[in-house]
Amino acid sequence: MLSSFIGTGPGFWLPRQGSTTAAGVDYLFNAVTAISIFFFVLITVVLLYFVWKYRARPGHEAKASAVHNQKLEITWTVIPLMIVVWIFWEGFTGFLNLQMPPENAYEVQVLGQKWKWLFTYPNGVVDDNLHVPPDEPIRLVMTSQDVIHSLYVPDFRIKRDAVPGRYEREWFQAEEPGEYQIFCAEYCGTSHSAMLSKVIVHRSRAEFEKWLADAGNFLDKLPPEKLWEGGQKLYNQRGCKQCHSVDGVAGIGPTFKGIWGHKQALKDGSQATVDENYVRESILNPQAKIVAGFEPVMPTYQGRLKDKEITAIIAYLKTLE
């Protein structure tokens, strides 16, 4: 118990170590914790001892003693100084390790948006979880579509802001297959705390490759009557879900439940029937027809959804009676 408290083992402080760099970070965290505990105990013990020894009581009086002592002052200036210089140096060199991805790293594009992460692989596959092979350096090239987000994987000890208008990089190398939590660490609004994803570390490079290939053509594998399932997946993955519910409750955008084939009142006073053309236009050019009572805030999906994918989403909408 005590050993875990002062940080020599996992448990009380810090989560499991999932990446190659985690141990180095933990070493410094534990060292600083140990230094802190040493000084804290020192200060507290001296404080309590003095308070007890020199407590006011009948017959006790303050006794004059030196009011300054150059040597003492220099001692307690120089010793902390040397300690913090050491901490700085360790923190700095450790940071360089965290910053510089190896040359041969596998690259995944990351897009943050309210309120989900999208990971794009070299073959164009987009997924809302980060799938990676084990024991291989992964470089993330990150940006954001709206406000600042921050991709944080506690088990890997990595975190980096995704800033709109710019590409940020971070990297890691996972050690053990399994699932690791991704948080958004920069406050981004209503569903900030629900902007959760997973890092899925596959058991081998081969398994990862297979997943990637399957993910690339999952719509092609579906029979036409199952196309709506593909649409449902896209609905969940591509950011529809964040604003359009399927349970009849209006969110930032209108709900999808029961709108197929019905007329919608538009902001400009006209009406539109929800059919193939309307849905296609609303996805590719969202500002064209705004449903009354909602703000024109939806980004365009032009170039981000393939034609077949829009067809799948339409198939899914038809199922939402």
């Binding site: 402080w13 810090l14 970070v25 965290f29 914790t33 230094i35 802190s36 804290f40 200060i43 001296v46 404080l47 003095f50 308070v51 020199y54 006011a56 303050a62 006794k63 004059a64 003693s65 030196a66 009011v67 300054h68 002592n69 003492l72 002052e73 307690w76 200036t77 902390p80 913090v84 210089v85 901490i87 700085f88 923190g91 700095f92 940071f95 709206d146 406000v147 600042i148 921050s150 944080y152 506690p154 088990d155 000890r157 990595i158 975190k159 802001d161 800033v163 709109p164 710019r166 940020e168 939590q181 948080f183 660490a185 920069e186 406050y187 609004g189 209503t190 900030h192 705390s193 629900a194």
Partner: protein, 546 residues
């Protein structure tokens, strides 16, 4: 014992307070105003903690929660902590410690207070008309795109900034120009040194906050995109602007607190302060270093690696003067005669809680470790240990220490100690838990959390209730003392700085006899006053004090 005519009853009526130029009355008005803000911010904190007692929605929805923590942060930072010690206690004590009749610019002082009121009205108006959900940091582009009341709030904070600038300006000039004959810089009480350092930051850093907020208002109102990437601006630049003020502002909050601790520790242990020059100069060093470390808030924000390294190195330099102060306070206790009054208990508590706050700053200053801890509850716990465990605890120490001087009444020491116990236990329960949960990766500003964090959140929330109970107890006995408190002697604790050589409460123009500046920490010429209670000074023997 209590003089018949003093500053509280010298004149009466609303106008005699609202338009007073007396620094003591302005200090009291600031005290009431900031403590009122503390109540508001505290209730918001309780709402936040209550929401987090269990997973999922508990008492409010996500948007309300976001507005609630913004309210808590903005009110606590801008309305409470920044003005609390300098503008409330500082205003009251500073001229008295100098043996002066007032601050250099009494009208500016009054204006500063009313600017505070106007700024506060803007902020509270923004809350009433729907709230604001940006967090107190107003990061772009979130703050330029959210549809909540950002403009009203930032305008309020802008005005509060000028209130703060004028207080600081007043204090600098007062300390420079109104020191009495014989009081050289190194004979000033240490509280004045810390107020001087604070005032330097207030004057030199706050204008940059002003321009930052003006730019933010221009982004929202006029579509000028300096910070908004959608308009070609740079959101990381906003963070530079914001932290150039807001990091030094942290020292606006903590420096005067350290000054109070120096006073209280020395007086209540009847012992000359140890290492006067080192404590005094470390205040100025902290103020100066404080301007050089703002980038440590941006280690993972997209700041360049080079800037990260520079800021990390400079950040550690602030640790040294803080450590010097703590060691000197400990050395002051040595061979003293320690009276465990409520004020002293808070001062000792400060050393412990501020110590934890400072030491965990080492984790956050170390670049590699900060990458993991940044924007988690570890940071939340760290700055609460500094801001609450430091500033608020010191404010309580100062409040108990000078309460007899301010209102001429003694407080109930027994209830004081009980409340201090509640606060100590409640505070550590609330926030130490957050260190642990932060190190496990719980991000801050989260409305909901994963199951593994439930136990920490629950303990933390319970701690906050204990802390709240302590504060309500304090409010009770302080208010009661005003009506039923035992009359305070002139110098109840035996201090030798000049404010203790005038009546409690002081007369309208502070001193009836011209005070003599001597070593403020030399207690040899103070003897117990058998007649009136407290202590009397042999220096003024035979001089007509009331």
């Amino acid at each position: 014992m209590t003089p018949k005519d003093h500053y509280l009853n010298h004149t009466s009526g609303f106008a005699s307070w609202a338009f007073t130029l007396d620094h003591k009355r302005i200090g009291v008005m600031y005290l009431v105003a900031t403590l009122g803000s503390f109540l508001l911010g505290g209730l918001a904190a309780l709402a936040v903690r209550t929401e987090l007692i269990s997973r999922g929605p508990t008492i409010m929805d996500a948007d309300t929660y976001n507005k609630m923590f913004t309210l808590h942060g903005a009110v606590m930072v801008f309305l409470f902590i920044i003005p609390s010690i300098p503008a409330a206690l500082g205003n009251f004590v500073l001229p008295l410690m100098l043996g002066a009749k007032d601050v250099a610019f009494p009208r500016l002082n009054l204006m500063s207070f009313w600017l505070w009121v106007i700024g506060a009205l803007f902020c509270i108006g923004a809350v009433i008309s729907g709230g604001v959900d940006t967090g107190w940091t107003f990061y772009t582009p979130y703050s330029t795109t959210t549809n909540t009341n950002v403009i009203a709030t930032t305008l309020g904070v802008f005005i509060l900034g000028f209130s703060s600038i004028f207080t600081g300006l007043n204090f600098i000039v007062t300390i420079h120009k109104l020191r009495p004959l014989g009081m050289t810089w190194f004979k000033m009480p240490l509280f004045l040194w810390s107020l001087y350092g604070t005032a330097l930051i207030q004057v030199l850093a706050t204008p940059v906050l002003g321009i930052t907020l003006l730019l933010l208002i221009a982004e929202r109102a006029l579509g000028i995109g300096i910070f908004d990437p959608a308009l070609g601006g740079d959101p990381v630049l906003f963070q530079h602007f914001f932290w150039f003020y807001s990091h030094p502002a942290v020292y606006i909050m903590i420096l005067p607190a350290m000054g109070i601790i120096s006073e209280v520790i020395s007086i209540h242990s009847r012992k000359h302060i140890f290492g006067y020059r080192f404590i005094a100069l470390s205040s100025i060093a902290i103020a100066a270093f404080g301007f050089l470390v703002w980038g440590h808030h941006m280690f993972v924000s997209g700041q360049s690696g080079m800037a990260n390294a520079i800021f990390s190195a400079l950040t550690f330099s602030v640790a040294i003067p803080s450590a010097i102060k703590v060691f000197n306070w400990l050395a002051t206790l040595y061979k003293g005669n320690i009276h465990l009054t409520t004020a002293m208990i808070y001062a000792l508590m400060f050393i412990i809680t501020f110590g934890i706050g400072g030491l965990t700053g080492l984790h956050l200053g170390a670049l590699a470790v900060d990458v993991h801890l940044h924007d988690t509850y570890f940071v939340v716990a760290h700055f609460h240990y500094v801001m609450f465990g430091g500033t608020v605890i010191a404010l309580l120490a100062g409040l108990h220490h000078w309460w007899p001087k301010m209102f001429g009444v003694m407080i109930d020491e027994r209830l004081g100690r009980i409340a201090a116990f509640f606060i100590f236990v409640g505070f550590n329960t609330t926030f130490f838990t957050q260190f642990v949960m932060g190190s496990h990766g719980m991000p801050r500003r989260y409305y909901d959390y994963l199951p593994q964090f439930t136990v920490y959140h629950r303990i933390s929330t319970i701690g906050s209730y204990v802390m709240a109970a302590g504060f309500f107890l304090i409010a009770y006995y302080l208010l009661r003392s005003l009506f039923r408190g035992q009359a305070a002697p002139m110098n109840p604790y035996g201090g030798n700085s000049l404010e203790w050589h005038t009546a409690s409460p002081p007369p309208f123009d502070n001193f009836t006899t011209t005070p003599k500046a001597e070593d403020p920490y030399d207690y040899d010429r103070l003897v117990p006053d058998e007649v009136n209670g407290g202590y009397r000074s042999l220096t003024y023997e035979g001089v007509g004090t009331r």
